[in-house]
């Protein structure tokens, strides 16, 4: 025991440790404050929080849970990208390999279930924010950032759903993207599209409408796969991460967690 404690002391006092964690384990209030200020992750939080907001029964931890699940998605998704090739030839069989040969064979599971759980967590977070009236001034804007994050979360799940390239995937995306056909003005079968003509030529047809843009072709195919892949792994997560930064920043700037005034 004694040796262990000495070892711990030696580590904490070493130049390496001190160069990373400036403050050490906080033992007094000054150090508690400094710990929050000196660490890039922890400084997301303020030094002190309202006691009422700390309660799990107040925030339900759902914002944090959504964020945590987003991080899980990022890590597991990155690992999946090592194996997965977004082409019609390989995609499905890479999935089979992932389930049967790859080490740590639960990455796909983790990624899929965390995605479902994130959708649920975001809905519940919105539910909580509504029930505590936390969208009211001064937090109107942050609620709006949240709504966009909600849409992005759904789009992330939707684009990811196609990637296994099995029957479940392609038909779910078929059903979903068929809706785009009916977009007013911009879908080939949408109300008003027939009016958009140029010199008698129809501007909006199956080869140019919103659905065509979404799935990169007249039917789901290799083009759709690569498009969804890029959006799923790069485009949407990037935008979502930026908006999360804004979202967290605004939580602080709007006066920290909400509470009665």
């Amino acid at each position: 025991m004694k040796q262990l404690q000495d070892l711990q002391k030696a580590i904490v006092k070493s130049q390496i440790w001190k160069s990373i964690f400036r403050v050490g384990i906080p033992t007094d209030n000054r150090k508690r404050a400094l710990a929050m200020l000196g660490n890039v992750v922890l400084h997301l939080h303020p030094i002190k929080v309202k006691k009422s907001g700390l309660r799990m029964s107040y925030t339900w931890c759902m914002g944090g849970t959504a964020f945590f699940l987003f991080l899980v998605e990022t890590i597991t998704g990155l690992l999946l990208m090592f194996y997965y090739r977004p082409t019609v030839e390989y995609a499905y069989f890479d999935m089979v390999d992932l389930r049967e040969v790859a080490a740590f064979g639960i990455m796909r599971e983790l990624h899929r279930w965390a995605a479902h759980a994130m959708v649920i967590a975001v809905w519940l977070h919105m539910f909580r924010v509504f029930m505590t009236g936390s969208y009211k001034p001064p937090r109107e804007f942050n609620w709006n950032v949240g709504v966009i994050l909600l849409v992005l979360t759904l789009l992330l799940s939707f684009t990811g759903y196609l990637l296994p390239w099995d029957q479940l995937a392609v038909w779910a995306i078929t059903v979903g993207s068929n809706m785009a056909r009916a977009t007013p003005l911009l879908g080939a079968e949408g109300p008003g599209a027939a009016f958009l003509t140029l010199g008698g030529e129809k501007l909006i047809h199956v080869g140019s409408d919103a659905r065509f843009g979404l799935i990169a072709g007249r039917t789901i195919g290799g083009g759709t796969l690569i498009r969804f892949y890029v959006l799923h792994c790069l485009g949407i997560p990037f935008v979502a991460a930026c908006l999360m930064a804004v979202h967290f920043w605004r939580v602080r700037k709007d006066g920290g967690i909400s509470g009665p005034v």
């Binding site: 929050m36 700390l54 759980a117 009211k136 001034p137 709504v147 007013p184 109300p191 509470g259």
Partner: protein, 359 residues
């Protein structure tokens, strides 16, 4: 047992179960006794008994136990639990306010505590619990992988991902441009508009029910009845050809539902007036068009004069009131169309196939 099952199957048919859910929803929100510990346990017990009992049924089990449907069961439980929690805390606070005491949040919010260790450590514990939960879930339940993609063989039913099944369920009542584009778009717009429409300054930063009854009632109606419930129906009760199946019913591909739906124009021109349909769309659809204009233009103005809505109008002012009323009426179009379908077999209120403009 079989009699009970077929009774529940019949009960769950949309027109009946939706009506039942409306009645239950209103009753549940009003019934203070349910939002107590005893009430919570009772509801939990009822749902769990129903759920576990139903798992004995083969047809029920085969749908619920699909890997992708497991999260939905989870969502139902979590939504129920948090709904209870929010109401429980709200009603407790209401009682405190009535007694002149501070709300639970108020009594603690003056008090500030250090983020380290209180918040940081709860977050750490939360993350550990979540990690363990996710790993266990991933080990127990394999992610689904079906046959390789084949665009010439459509599975029946073909379903969108589960979180969009509420929208797919709306396709029963609306054309894709409404169910798939306009209504989802308006859900987003409506959500974003909430903070700017709601002018009630009370209930900011604490749970309450009494101080914002109408807001909470409306939100719960949209979220629980129209969103979560429709997802549950779309997932568990819609089988081949998107036909309706009771929870214990076998998903029979050959089940045939008669298509007897007719348009408003046909009801009026043919059935009531006894003349044929005019050939030009404008006279043909004129009644539907008038109805829609009345609904979206005249009704909001009339509402602003009605006793019940007038106080909102006075409080919110014109622009807020009309935006809110339009969004509200759009949302109500869904239940209205549902009932019109069930009662009159109504297909379209306005049906201008010439421009794909059908409501």
């Amino acid at each position: 047992m079989d009699a009970l099952k077929s009774f529940i199957n019949t009960l769950s048919y949309p027109w009946f179960s939706f009506t039942l859910s409306l009645v239950l929803f209103v009753a549940v929100v009003k019934l203070k006794k349910l939002w107590t510990h005893a009430g919570g346990w009772l509801m939990l017990a009822l749902i769990t008994v129903f759920f576990c009992g139903s798992m004995l049924d083969e047809n029920f089990r085969s749908v619920v136990a699909k890997p992708d449907n497991v999260p939905i069961v989870m969502m139902v439980y979590l939504t129920g639990y948090f709904w209870w929690l929010a109401m429980y805390k709200g009603i407790k606070n209401d009682q405190a306010i009535e007694a002149g005491a501070p709300t639970f949040e108020k009594s603690e919010s003056e008090d500030k505590v250090f983020t380290w260790p209180d918040l940081v450590f709860s977050e750490l514990i939360c993350m550990v619990v979540l990690t363990v939960g996710m790993v266990v879930w991933s080990i127990v339940l394999k992610a689904p992988l079906e046959e390789p993609a084949n665009l010439s063989v459509a599975p029946n039913p073909s379903k969108a991902p589960w979180y969009f099944l509420g929208l797919q369920e709306m396709l029963v009542y609306f054309d894709p441009w409404m169910a798939g584009v306009v209504l989802p778009g308006l859900i987003i717009v409506g959500l974003m508009a909430i903070p700017y429409i709601d002018t009630n300054p009370k209930g900011n930063g604490y749970y309450t029910f009494k101080e914002r009854k109408s807001e909470i009632f409306l939100f719960l109606f949209g979220y629980i009845v129209l969103w979560v419930q429709l997802i549950v129906i779309g997932t568990f009760l819609r089988g081949p050809n998107w036909n309706f199946f009771g929870p214990y019913e076998f998903w029979d591909i050959n089940k045939i539902e008669p298509l007897v739906n007719i348009d408003l124009s046909e009801i009026i021109w043919i059935k009531l007036l006894g003349v044929g349909l005019p050939s030009h769309w404008l006279p043909r659809e004129i009644f539907g068009i008038i109805l829609m204009i009345g609904y979206f233009v005249v009704l909001p103005v009339a509402m602003s004069k009605m006793k019940y809505f007038k106080r909102f109008y006075d409080e919110m002012g014109g622009p807020r009131f009309y935006t809110g009323a339009t969004l509200f009426l759009t949302m109500m179009l869904l239940p209205i169309k549902m009932y019109a379908r069930w009662v009159f077999n109504l297909k379209y209120i306005v049906h201008i196939q010439e421009f794909f403009f059908n409501i």
